[in-house]
């Protein structure tokens, strides 16, 4: 019975180390993983038409928050106790398209994690 348990433990540890190895093989930054998809192009179903797809950058990017260093607080007009460093999935390249009724939209062609513009409340 003990031999059986040892075999199970060995198999478990082997699978775990393979998984760890695979995970660490991915570069930092845009990280593809379960539950939080990588920042990349996806079709925008609202604006897409048959034969004329419109692509949009969507996905997960890294951000963090921490107490503002005292040095930074001294330079602030209105000191804030907390600092947020955030990146968002945005277009690295795009083309401009004008739809009927003169509606202008972007068709994204490349994405990356970079400056957020719509993250403040």
């Amino acid at each position: 019975i003990m031999d059986c348990y040892r075999k199970y433990a060995a198999v478990t540890l082997t699978i775990l180390s393979v998984v760890l190895h695979l995970l660490h093989a991915f570069p930092d930054g845009e990280f593809l993983m379960q539950g939080c998809p990588e920042c990349k192009l996806g079709e925008n179903r609202f604006f897409s038409k048959p034969g004329a797809p419109i692509y949009q950058c969507t996905g997960c990017c890294f951000s963090r928050a921490y107490p503002t260093p005292m040095r930074s607080k001294k330079t602030m007009l209105v000191p804030k106790n907390i600092t947020s460093e955030a990146t968002c999935c945005v277009a690295k390249a795009f083309t401009k398209i004008t739809l009927k009724d003169n509606v202008k939209i972007e068709n994204h062609t490349d994405c990356h994690c970079s400056t957020c513009y719509y993250h403040k409340s």
Partner: protein, 131 residues
């Protein structure tokens, strides 16, 4: 035993694979300017990945929410900073996150930026060490 192994695998998978927004241990530098030194304090704060998108319709600009990994709940802790020479010891209060989430950045309490000095920045270290 099979069940135990399954639970161990599941737990490890969750622990190593969840890069979502969560509490992590960080080191904060607290400066004592008059004495020109810093002390370090351990705290928990928020970091990880949040889902965002870049709107294709921008002209004119419409509100479109992008979420960042930020605090949901925060408490304040106090640390004693040693004195020096004519300067007695003092106390400094700093925020510690107790819960995190993906949400918009609250400009009332937070400096919303792309890159800051980092939590362990000290003006008085050799290279102004930061993280």
């Amino acid at each position: 035993m099979k069940t135990v192994n399954c639970y161990v695998l599941l737990f490890c998978w969750e622990a190593i694979c969840c890069n979502c927004c969560q509490l992590t241990n960080i080191t904060i530098a607290v400066e004592r300017e008059e004495c020109e030194f810093c002390i370090t304090v351990n705290a928990t704060w928020c970091s990880g990945y949040c889902f965002t998108r870049d709107p294709v319709y921008k002209y004119p600009p419409v509100s479109s929410v992008q979420q960042t990994c930020t605090f949901k709940e925060v408490v304040y802790e106090t640390v004693k900073i040693p004195g020096c020479g004519d300067h007695p010891e003092s106390f400094y209060s700093y925020p510690v996150a107790t819960e995190c989430h993906c949400e918009t950045c609250d400009t009332d309490s937070t400096d919303c930026t792309v890159r800051g000095l980092g939590p362990s920045y000290c003006s008085f270290s050799q290279n102004g060490s930061n993280q």
